[in-house]
Every structure is written in C-alpha cells, then in structure tokens.
C-alpha cells in the first residue's frame, strides 16, 4: 500500500477491482464504510462475481476475469478523450513529456524486439532519448509525437467502450458509468483510491494489471495524496515483511537484488546499480545503494566482511536464472534435480498450482522438513486420504520431518502490515507440548550445520562458519537482538559528511535511520528500509500512542512505518509545483519556503525546493512513469493479453496466446486447454471466502462451522443448462485435474456476453483440504495451470478453463 488502512477514510471514491476487500480484509474495509458514511464517498466494485464488497457498493460492474487491462486502459482512454486529466500533476510529476527513442513501437500485440524462441524482448529501444547533457530529453508542450504522452494516447486508443464490452463482457453503459465516476476524480479536490489484491496479481500479466491502474491514478493525480494511492491488500500478516526482508530467491533485504553470475565482482555489480539521475537535481535515492549493500554484508559476516574481500561479496550466491521461485522449485524437484526442501510455514501442496505435479515433485525428494503450528497437508503429502489424497505411501521414499512451531500467541516480534506498519507483539500463552519458536528451530539447525562444518570441513564452509551469530544465546536469538540487527548500528564513529569533525553516531550505538549508513564498513543494517525501527529511542515498533492531529489517519506515533516512519509514500506529490496542497482540505505536507513539513514525514529531502526536485525520489527520473524503462519484461506500456486458458481469443492480437513473455516450462504448455476450448468451455476463477483464512482456519472449529464444506459457485443459467441443483454435487475438471464439490447456484454470478458469445463463470473457493476440523475437500490448485506472471511468477489462479457436470454424491 502506498497509503495506510486508516488513510482510506480520506477518499472520495473507492474502486475495488482485482480484490474483494470486504471479504478478505473486513477490518480494513471498515475505513471504506467510514469514508462513505462521513465523506459521502462512493464505492465501485468491478468483479466477475457479485461479491460481499459489491453488496455494499454504490455501483457494481461485471467483468470477465483476466481482462482488467482492457477495462482500465479503456477508462484511461475515456479520461484522456474527455479531458479528465489532472494536467498540472501529469506534466510536473510524470514522464509524460519524456521523448522515447526512435525504433520503439507496438504492433499486433507485441513491442519492438520480441524473440519468440526465447519468449523474451530485446529492450534496447524501450528507452528515452538522452541529450548531450546526459539527461533525458523532454517536451513540456507534449506536442512531440514521440513523447510518452502521445505514444500512450495512441497505444490505448483501441480500448473504446465498445471494445471493452467485447473483451470484458461489461455492458457498455455500465462501463461508461464506471469511467464517468472515476474520471470525476481528475480534479485536485477529488481523490480515488484503488484497493486490489490477488485478483490482479494472480494472472500471467499481473504486474501490468497493477501498472494499468497506477497509470490511471497518475492521470487523475491520485498518487501521494490522502485518500488516494495504489493499495495492495497483502494476503498474509507478514508477507509484506518477508518480502521487505528479501526472503525471495533473487532479493536482498530492502529490495536490493542478489547478484547474477554475470556480475563477476563487486564493482561490476555496483556499476549496474548506480542510478544516475536522468534529470537535473533529482535525488535518485538508489544512489545510496552501496551504503545499504555494504551495511547488509557487514551485518551478515561482521568482522569477516572487509574492504579487502569486498565485504564478502563473493560469499553471496550468484543467480544463473532470473529466479528460483516456488514454481521453478517444484519444476526442479519434478526433474529430480533437488534433494531436500524445507517449508517454514506455508502449505505448498495446496497453495501452489497443479497439485498432481506437486505430489509427484515432493515424492522425488530425499527429505522434506516442515515447521508449522498446524498439521499441514504438505507434511502429510505421502499419506493416503482416499480421493482427497490418493497416493501409495509405500512408493514414496521421501523422509519427512514435521516440526511443531509456536503460533503468534506464543511468539514475540514484529509483523509488517499492508500499510507498511511494523507492529510489535508479545507472547501471552504457553506453547503446547514441545512446540518451539521459529527462531529456536532456525538457530538449532544453523548451529548444528556450522558445527558440522567446523568439525568436518566440506564444501566452501567460509560463509557458514563466519556468519555473525553473536547472540546472547546462539541457540535462540531473541526478537530484540534480531530487531536491532535489522535496524543497524555503528561499528565505528559515523561522521557528518558535511562536517567531518562531527560525530553523528557513536561507535556501538544503534543508527537513528538509514541516513546514517555508510559504505566503508563502519555501519551495519540488516534491512536498510527498516532502519529506525529499533534505535537508541527504543523499540519504535512497540509504540502505542494513538494521537492523530486533525484526524488525518496518519498516527505517526503508533508503531513504526517504513521508510523512516513515513505513512504515505510519495507524499510530496500531495502538493503542487509550488509546494502547496492540491486540496487544502486534505493537506499532507507543504513547503513553507525553507522546508517541507506537515502531518507526515516528508518523502523528499526536507529542504529540497519544490520546483527543482521531483516527488518520486526513488526513480532516476524524479517523476513517475507512464512509460517504464527496463524493469517490466512484458512491455513499457500494459496491453491486453488473454489468460493462457481463455474462453475467447485475443481480440486485439488474435495471434498472441497468453502473455508472450510469461515463462512456461517444457511440458506445461501441453497441459493448457486451447483458447475457446470446446472440451473446457467455462471460465473458472479461484478466491477466498470471508469465513476462512487460506488453509489455516479449516483447523479452527468456529470457522469450520461458519463455512463447513467445499463448494463451487455457478449462475442459475449454467445450472439450468447442466441440470445442476442448488446444494447438489458436481464434478469440475480441467486439463490437469478433477474435483468434487457441492454446488452453490446463485444470482450473484451471471453469464457474460463477450464478443457476442456467452461466457459462464465457475467460482472456486480455496479453503479446503484433508486435515483440520472442516469437512475434507479439494482446492482449486488441483485444476490450475502451472504458469506465472511474466515479471514475478505469481501463478495464474484467477483465470483458467474447466468443465462441470452434476454427479451423485460421494459414498459416505
């Protein structure tokens, strides 16, 4: 979230699309109802199903899953055509005026440089024209046909209301109503917020779904302001934190990236991370990368990380592929290329796609270790549970360790919520049986491994035996010790750069924030963006002061928000080019002639003159991007692609199937149903129900009572067609698997008319398995395709094809 949950109260229009906040985040959704009640805010819900969010919406429009980009670019097209643009914002705070290199173009659904065999682009033409001064060339008049704005206009002109109706199945008048309501927020005094979740991410073009809305928000001038922003409603309590701390194959903490094997040494690595500003005066904050990187290495290997060995740069593993995400992991297992797998929490057997493949993969492991408070399906993948897990234990040679861990109630530490608040929690209960904290388990595994290497030596022991593990009790580091490591400390006195005689931080003291980090090895910080969470002022994550001047919803003294306790990212953009709030009634920070100040921690150097320095300080441009350089694999602009399994062919580019650069493993392609398949005619989607949380609450008696049994949802029309009765049993099958479920026949799902052809939607909730209190059931992952988003590999759970038929209930 760029903003916070409590900030949603400041909005005028909430658009819930690609999510279902009322069901998945009810207590955050409270702030939507507050905005409605107190500001007369409106709520729009766009979803294939009439969800619980829709039940309290002012306007609901149906959409076919997997066609969000067409819808959003359609809205953007509507805004631009009707001059519903916050011009001052667009001109000053975006790269609309930047001139794009000649050669770049978009044709037949592809951008310049596509290589079909590699399923990848040569992105060399996706760039700005760089002038002699080394800065990007811009045209403030936006007249140059090669400026981003004009390219964008041309790119989205195809998404007319008629085209949107044909692709999305959203009736034209409903689409226009939504577009009109949204376009009203282009005035500086009206703000829209976007609340989305896995409904946008779990597609083969998930990242571009989100970019589309982000771009629309820029057109409307809604990024960085109160009641605006792009608000990703993260699914799990600390998935934000685990990502911040970099627990992904290609990440270092704080969104730094792991070297790949082309970055043969420290300097090569840093050379691609210089982030020289693309416009004069811009902060381009990533210029400090080296400080954060070195401080991280010092945290890892302490004294062993020296300038001589480039702070142990070589001890970091180097990637040979973009990433070893969970999908690749199971692919490797399946190829027999993996020996062991350790699951700390998580329940991949139900969470990852194509369950048949998952079981086969796990069965090829030598060993599997699970750590969990609950009895997960993954830890019992080898156990036969009839049709719910039909395996032959004797044929599975995997050695499995099921380790009992404590749960939240027995554990101490901080979680980072969707609004980037790090909140500390305290243990209140005694753990059951011999359950142990994750810290204890990890420490026990590490110390044993380290001691084995000390004793026996072995393959390159250095990074293991030299890891800084100086905790009071090496067998179980405390949460406080680790929190201080994340924050970072000074190993030597840290001097003021402007006055080398002035000590900023005494040696041995915790650093106040990442501003004090240095690249000479004199500081540590496990995760630079968390720096400030636990400094000499104490544990800022444990703060509980609820004061909120003028009820802005900032709560600056409650817990700690990264970075540096900032509550709304890009908040400098809440003020105009002269530093005055776009909307005086929603002032956030303002420029008083000397400095920035207000209700939030300014997201800009406090003394940076508003006319000189752009608000998007993390970008080399200093402004936000309609046209993105480099980062996106599937294009600098979003464009509509169908899901890999789609009930219709791509109307914009009939030859293109799925996302042209999404990674598909050999063999998996054969497992996709044809577009507009006769064999699998129905468009399925998976989702959560409000009564349950993922695969946890089926273990919870009360929630099992509230939603006891696995079901699928279909329209009355489809039920009639297929002779399916409400509450009767059905079989649903895809090209990859088959499941049995009860049928919920509802008016809340209606067939969509896409390009004249009716598309039936089959909804499949995901909460059931074969352990726990609830009735045994299946999950959508028995059906879903093994393909992910082109940029971050989020599996395509929200749009795939199935068939359905009524069946007699299972015996017993």
């Amino acid at each position: 979230m760029t903003n916070s949950w409590t900030d949603i109260r400041n909005t005028d229009l909430v658009v819930i699309m690609g999510g279902n906040a009322a069901e998945a985040h009810p207590c955050g959704f409270k702030w939507v109802t507050e905005a409605k009640a107190n500001r007369g805010a409106k709520l729009i819900v766009v979803d294939p199903r009439f969800t619980r969010s829709a039940s309290v919406a002012d306007f609901y429009a149906p959409i076919r899953q997997g066609s969000d980009i067409a819808f959003l670019l359609g809205v953007m097209n509507y805004c631009i055509k009707n001059d519903k643009v916050q011009w001052d914002y667009v001109k000053a705070f975006t790269n609309a005026a930047f001139i794009v290199k000649d050669g770049f173009e978009y044709k037949d659904g592809l951008f310049t440089g596509y290589d079909e065999t590699k399923r990848d682009y040569d992105k060399s033409t996706w760039n700005y024209v760089i002038g002699d001064d080394g800065f990007a060339v811009i045209d403030d008049t936006l007249t140059n046909p090669r400026c981003v704005w004009n390219l964008l206009k041309a790119h989205i002109s195809v998404y007319t209301p008629e085209m949107v109706e044909r692709i999305c199945g959203t009736p034209k008048e409903k689409f226009l109503k939504v577009a009109e309501m949204i376009s009203e927020c282009s005035t500086p005094t009206k703000t829209m917020t976007s609340m989305y979740a896995l409904g946008w991410t779990q597609h083969s073009k998930g990242s571009q779904n989100i970019r589309s809305m982000a771009m629309l928000q820029l057109v409307l001038g809604n990024i960085g302001v109160r009641g605006g922003g792009m608000n990703a409603l993260r699914g799990h309590s600390n998935i934000q934190g685990l990502t911040d701390v970099g627990l992904m194959s290609n990440l270092l903490p704080g969104y730094m990236t792991l070297p790949n094997e082309k970055e043969v040494d420290f300097d090569t690595y840093m050379s691609t991370r210089g982030f020289k500003p693309l416009r004069p005066n811009q902060m381009s904050y990533w210029q400090n990368y080296r400080k954060f990187f070195v401080s991280f290495l010092k945290t890892m290997w302490g004294a062993a990380a020296t300038p001589e060995n480039h702070f142990a740069y070589d001890w970091l593993p180097k990637l040979d592929v973009p990433g070893y995400d969970v999908l690749r992991a199971f692919e490797l297992m399946n190829q027999g290329k993996m020996t062991g797998y350790i699951c700390q929490g998580f329940n991949p057997l139900l969470a990852a796609p194509n369950r048949t493949k998952l079981t086969a993969s796990l069965s090829k492991l030598k060993f599997l270790v699970t750590m969990d408070p609950l009895d997960t399906e993954t830890s019992r993948f080898w156990e036969n549970h009839g049709e719910f897990n039909d395996v032959d234990s004797s044929q599975i040679q995997t050695e499995v360790y099921q380790l009992p861990s404590t749960c939240f109630a027995e554990d101490e530490g901080s979680l980072t919520n969707s609004g980037r608040w790090l909140q500390w929690h305290w243990p209140g209960g005694t753990a059951p049986g011999e359950a142990k904290t994750d810290n204890w388990i990890m420490a026990q595994i590490y110390t044993r491994l380290r001691d084995l290497y000390r004793k026996e030596g072995g393959a390159f022991p250095d990074p293991i035996v030299n890891l800084d593990w100086s905790y009071a009790d090496p067998g179980e580091p405390t949460a406080e010790e680790l929190a201080k490591e994340l924050n970072g400390k000074a190993l030597a006195p840290v001097m003021d750069p402007t006055d080398p005689t002035k000590v900023v931080v005494e040696a041995g003291k915790l650093v106040p924030s990442f501003a004090a980090l240095r690249d000479d090895g004199s500081t540590t910080s496990g995760c630079w963006i968390y720096s400030g969470c636990f400094n000499e002022n104490g544990n800022n994550m444990a703060r509980r002061d609820t004061s909120d001047p003028d009820e802005t919803g900032a709560y600056l003294k409650w817990a700690f928000s990264w970075p540096v306790n900032r509550r709304i990212l890009y908040n400098r953009a809440s003020a105009d080019l002269n530093g005055k709030a776009w909307d005086p009634s929603r002032k956030l920070i303002e420029w008083d002639g000397q400095k920035w100040s207000g209700y939030d921690v300014p997201d800009i150097a406090p003394t940076a003159k508003p006319q000189d320095v752009g608000p998007f300080i993390m970008n080399a441009e200093g402004v936000s991007r309609f046209f993105v350089v480099g980062m996106m694999r599937d294009g600098p602009f979003p464009s509509h692609y169908e899901p890999f399994e789609s009930p219709v062919t791509n109307l914009i580019a009939p030859k293109i199937r799925g996302n042209p650069v999404a990674r598909v493993f050999k063999g998996d392609f054969a497992q996709f149903a044809e577009p507009a398949s006769q064999e699998f005619p129905y468009a399925a989607t998976s989702y959560r129900l409000t009564e349950h949380f993922h695969y946890w609450t089926k273990h919870v008696w009360v929630n099992a009572v509230l939603q006891p049994e696995f079901f699928v949802e279909i329209s009355e029309e489809l039920a009639k067609e297929k002779g399916i009765v409400k509450g009767g049993w059905v079989r649903v099958w895809s090209k990859r698997g088959s499941i049995k479920a009860k049928a919920v026949v509802t008016k809340r799902i209606k067939p969509l008319i896409c390009d004249g052809k009716p598309v039936h939607v089959v909804g499949i909730p995901l909460h059931w398995g074969f352990t726990g209190a609830a009735k045994k059931g299946f999950g959508p992952n028995s059906l879903t395709p093994f393909v992910g988003d082109a940029n971050i590999e989020t599996p395509e759970y929200k749009a795939f094809l199935v068939n359905i038929e009524p069946i007699a209930g299972p015996v017993a």
């Binding site: 009322a22 069901e23 009810p26 207590c27 959704f29 409270k30 109802t33 507050e34 409605k36 009640a37 107190n38 007369g40 009439f50 619980r52 969010s53 829709a54 039940s55 309290v56 002012d58 609901y60 409000t690 009564e691 008696w701 009360v702 929630n703 099992a704 009572v705 509230l706 939603q707 006891p708 049994e709 696995f710 079901f711 009765v725 409400k726 509450g727 009767g728 009860k742 049928a743 919920v744 026949v745 509802t746 008016k747 809340r748 209190a773 609830a774 009735k775």
Partner: protein, 314 residues
C-alpha cells in the same frame, strides 16, 4: 466513527444492573424498580453489513457455545438456522430490485430482538425463567427454565431454541454479562464495519436517522428504521434500505406482534378456564346443600327383592 465498544476490564466491578432492576419476570409479578435504567439497544445497519459472520464468531467465542460442523446446502447461511449453540445468524437473500433491475444481496443478522413486550416471557410458565431488565434486556435464566418450549410459541420472531442436551431454551442474551460491566455485546464489538452498534436506545435512533439520510441520498427512498410498535418497540433495531418491505430480508415480519392465539391462551383462557372449573365445583357443592344426597330407600330395596322373586318380609 461511532464510539467503539471499550476494551473489557479484568478488574471485578459491581454489576450495573441485576435482579433489582427487573420490570418483568415470567410467571410471577415483580415490583418494578424505583428508577428505570437508561434503555439500551443494539442497532443493526443492514445496509452496512458485509455478511462476514464476525458476529456469529464472536458470539460463539464469548458465550462458549459449540455448534456442530454442518454441510453446505447450496447457500452461504451456516449454520442453517439458529440453534441452542448459535444465538445469531446471517441470513442471505439475493433480491432483484424490480425498480432498478439491480441485484441486491440482502444480509440480515437474525437473533433475539429484545422486545419491549416480549412474547416469550408472556408465554413462559416457569417463574423467573425469562426476565426483562429495566434497561430493556430480555434474558433467559436457565436454572429456572423447564424446557417446555412455550417461549418458542410466544416469540413473534421465531428465535428461542431448546437444547436437546440440557433441555432448556437458549437465545441471545444481548451479552448481559458484558453490559453489566459497562461493555457492549460481543457481536457489536467485533463487527468490522460497525453495522452493529450499541448504546442507549435514543443514541441508536439518532445514529439510525443519520444513516437513513445517507441511504436516501444514495437513492434508497424507502430507507428506514425497524423498531416494530406491535411489540412495543425492540432493543435490537434494524436500519433497512427497504423499510417498506421488511419481509424481503429473509422474512423479517412486517408489523410483528404477539400472536393473538398466544394472547388468547395466556389471557382470557387462563382466567376463564379456572373460572369454569371453579364454577363446576361450586355448582356441585351448592346442589348438594340444596338437594342433599340421593339415597336408596327401603322401598327400592324391597322392589328389587320382589323383582328377583324373593318373598317380601312379613
């Protein structure tokens, strides 16, 4: 935002109300308290409800009930009905508004309405099994309940349920134990969107008025408050977007009142009945005084003997 329900105290505090505040007690007469307590009420704003069932969850946890795990019958309502272990229930209705042709998903939290004139209490034959406090709370006292099920027949809203285990009647207590220490009901505290709020009945009406204005501004011309006069008003009220047709909300009764049959049974029959019985007895007694016993005479005996062919006595 409406002031949230405060956190519970862990200190012992004297209850804010108790038996001294009873205004009604089943099958018995009470001397009403000198001063009636401020009437409390729970307001359920159906237009704000997202049907998340947090109220059901909180209710189960607070009241330590243990409903059984059922099955899916093709709808979202679970459990399928109120039970002795489920005092409140989300009832889902998919309603196509004929005026707008829009689908409206009406979700109503069902449960005890805490009527000002409680039919359950009126029907109850067991002294003190059902009580009404001066703050409006209608509560079941299980020690006094005999499990006859008369409350079920008395209730205009079909709320009480008899446990097949304890054979006593159960329903929402409005969390009397929480309110007694200055808390709000568990459901009201939990409700994510504050579709359930709790306070004095006047506060609730005031709050409802604001909500109704907002709803009217959003095109719900018939938005209104459900506080049925037929039962003297209730201490659980609804804000409905279509107050003109409460029945579309999973059969919420339009102008509910205690069934005239129950009124007759617990009214005239009760008194007339005893009168009749008394009269019968009295009549017999009077007759005896007037007519005296009907004795068999000697002549009768002789006649009988003669008939049976015996010689008459000399």
């Amino acid at each position: 935002m409406f002031p949230p329900v405060p956190n519970p105290t862990t200190q012992p505090v004297p209850p804010k109300f108790g038996d001294q505040d009873l205004i009604r007690r089943s099958a018995s007469t009470v001397t009403p308290p000198a001063q009636r307590q401020t009437e409390v009420a729970k307001l359920i704003d159906v237009s704000k409800c997202i049907g998340c069932k947090a109220c059901q969850s909180a209710c189960i946890e607070w009241n330590d009930t243990h409903p059984e795990i059922g099955i899916n019958t093709g709808v979202y309502d679970n459990p399928h009905d109120l039970t002795p272990d489920m005092f409140t229930l989300m009832r889902f209705t998919e309603w196509e508004n004929p005026e707008t042709n829009n689908l409206e998903w009406l979700i109503r939290k069902d449960g005890c309405m805490h009527c000002e004139d409680p039919g359950c209490l009126k029907a109850c034959p067991a002294p003190g099994a059902i009580v009404q406090y001066s703050n409006g709370i209608v509560d079941f006292i299980h020690e006094n309940c005999i499990g006859c099920g008369y409350c079920i027949k008395g209730c205009p809203f079909n709320i009480p349920r008899i446990s097949q285990v304890t054979h006593t009647a159960y329903k929402c207590t409005l969390c009397s134990d929480r309110i007694a220490v200055g808390q709000g009901p568990a459901c009201a505290k939990a409700c994510p969107t504050q579709a359930i709020v709790f306070g004095t009945k006047d506060e609730m009406k005031e709050h409802a008025a604001g909500r109704i204005t907002d709803l009217k501004s959003r095109g719900f011309a018939n938005a209104g408050l459900y506080d049925p006069p037929g039962v003297g008003g209730t201490h659980v009220m609804y804000v409905l977007h279509h107050a003109d047709k409460p029945e579309i909300y999973a059969g919420l009764p339009n102008n509910p009142r205690i069934s005239p049959i129950v009124e007759a049974w617990k009214g005239v029959t009760k008194y007339a009945g005893l009168a009749v019985i008394g009269f019968a007895a009295a009549a017999g007694f009077m007759h005896y005084l007037v007519a005296g016993p009907n004795r068999v005479s000697e002549e009768d005996e002789e006649a009988a003997e003669k008939l049976t062919g015996e010689e008459p006595r000399p």
